[in-house]
């Protein structure tokens, strides 16, 4: 298990937790992120029910989780959000930001509507401890209701499944170390899970309007510095929606 600060300045920080070597092997590895601002916390894609205890125990070493006021779900998948009932059972006042179209689906996890703050298709802002985070639409990448988060202060973009990689078990780095080599872990994932080239180009154009130092996916390694732009160019040129041989 790795936990690292991605950004830590004054009262603002980003932390990532990933590479859980003790997880059951049939469960995909996920990265969980915790943003803190002025003592308030926001958890991004807190993960599945399988890793709730690990995530909560690890982040507890660094932050008082009683001060986490909200959870952000980039989309509806179980590896993203099936731990939600446990987080809410722990803190019944927890807010849950999620794409509007998934509200009536995620409530199937047993989440009450009072906890939910639906985010409209066009995105918007989430304010954490007085600091605004931008919510950027990334619909159809891969889910039909999907959102990224951009933090203008830390210059970090949380990209959900975009940039995800299916890494081998012995890959322990949290960051991409060799971009060219790394593409082999990403290509199938993006071809297979991302269905829309149009949505892809639109999202890339939105991201390029921003100053991004780190691009943080929910699976795999984090891109930083030049690798962010390398990733955007690689993704731009990839024909997505082509991962099934039947449509090649």
């Amino acid at each position: 298990m790795r936990v690292e600060h991605l950004f830590n300045k004054n009262t603002h920080s980003w932390m990532v937790m990933g590479r859980d070597e003790d997880r059951r092997k049939e469960v995909i590895d996920t990265n969980q992120y915790l943003i803190q601002h002025n003592g308030r916390g926001l958890l991004l894609d807190p993960g599945g029910v399988e890793n709730f205890s690990v995530v909560a125990a690890e982040f507890s070493k660094h932050f008082d989780l009683a001060d986490v006021e909200a959870v952000f779900a980039s989309h509806q998948d179980p590896d993203v959000i099936s731990s939600l009932p446990l987080w809410i059972q722990t803190n019944p006042n927890l807010l849950v930001y999620m794409p509007k179209i998934w509200v009536s689906f995620i409530t199937h996890f047993g989440v009450k509507i009072e906890n939910i703050r639906p985010i409209p298709d066009e995105g918007g802002l989430i304010t954490l401890g007085g600091h605004d985070l931008e919510v950027i639409p990334q619909h159809y990448l891969h889910s039909s209701g999907c959102l990224s988060i951009y933090d203008p202060q830390a210059k970090i973009l949380f990209s959900g499944d975009i940039g995800a990689a299916l890494l081998p078990d012995d890959y322990t780095d949290l960051f991409v170390t060799d971009f060219a080599e790394h593409t082999k872990y990403m290509e199938y994932f993006h071809r297979r899970w991302m269905p829309s080239n149009t949505a892809k180009l639109r999202w890339i154009a939105e991201v390029r309007k921003r100053d991004v130092d780190m691009l943080c996916p929910q699976h795999g390694a984090i891109f930083k510095g030049e690798d962010v732009d390398k990733f955007l160019t690689w993704f731009e040129n990839l024909d997505v929606g082509s991962g099934w041989s039947g449509v090649r």
Binding site: V49, F52, S53, V54, A56, A57, F59, S60, K61, H62, F63, D64, L65, A66, P85, L86, Q89, T90, N91, P92
Partner: protein
């Protein structure tokens, strides 16, 4: 007994309770065609009584009783099905709550108290909510099983009533001579249906008894685990 043994036992018992709920549900569903056959039989009884003409007055009275018997069985089935659906839901909800309880236990065991910024009390509060849910759902499950037992208890009386009706129908059919031939067929069919109802009712009572016992075992082990902490 160690916590692990309790945990394993409770896991197995949840499985047993759930499987027994499903078996009972399946068994209760078998009553549906039986009730339909009883309604069909009462229609046959009406025609037989009509065919007997003026000799069929006693048949008409028996026909009404057969119809009432069919209605009683149908009502009993409707009510039990509502309750058994709730029982299956509660049993599956309990299994899921218990799994959440174990996740919290795992989390509390992982917490390194000296290196913590979050108080364990924060998570204990979450676990307490789960325990409260389990307690409440166990209580509801016990109550539903009691209701189901009450709903099924008149079936034995209905069986007796049906047997008595079948005997009366045979006697009346015999005394009506050739006018009673088709009503004798009704009596024979009624006897067969009532016998089937009796067998199913006995099987349901036995399943319900097993379910209650499994519930009690599971609740006892759960109490041992939760209150031993």
């Amino acid at each position: 007994m160690s916590e692990n043994i309790y945990t394993r036992k409770i896991g197995e018992e949840y499985d047993t309770v759930f499987r027994q709920c499903v078996s009972l549900n399946t068994e209760l569903h078998k009553l549906v065609p039986l009730a339909k056959q009883m309604h069909l039989l009462s229609s046959n009884a009406v025609s037989s009584a009509a065919r007997a003409g003026t000799e069929g007055d006693a048949f008409r009275v028996l026909t009404q009783d057969i119809q009432l018997l069919g209605d009683d069985v149908s009502h009993c089935i409707d009510d039990t099905q509502k309750v058994i659906s709730e029982i299956v839901m509660l049993a599956s909800g309990l299994a899921s709550s218990f799994s959440n309880y174990m996740i919290y236990t795992d989390l509390l065991n992982r917490l390194d108290i000296d290196a913590m910024k979050t108080s364990p009390k924060f998570f204990e509060k979450g676990q307490k909510h789960v325990v409260d849910d389990i307690r409440e759902n166990n209580h509801r499950l016990s109550r539903c099983i009691g209701i189901l037992a009450n709903l099924l208890s008149p079936v034995a009386t209905l069986v007796k009533k049906g047997e008595y009706l079948a005997v009366c129908s045979s006697v009346e059919a015999a005394s009506a001579g050739e006018h009673g031939v088709s009503f004798e067929a009704v009596a024979t069919m009624l006897r067969a249906l009532v016998s089937q109802l009796g067998k199913q009712s006995a099987r349901q009572r036995s399943l319900l008894r097993d379910l209650s016992e499994a519930m009690e075992r599971q609740q006892q082990n759960q109490r041992n685990l939760m209150y031993a902490r």
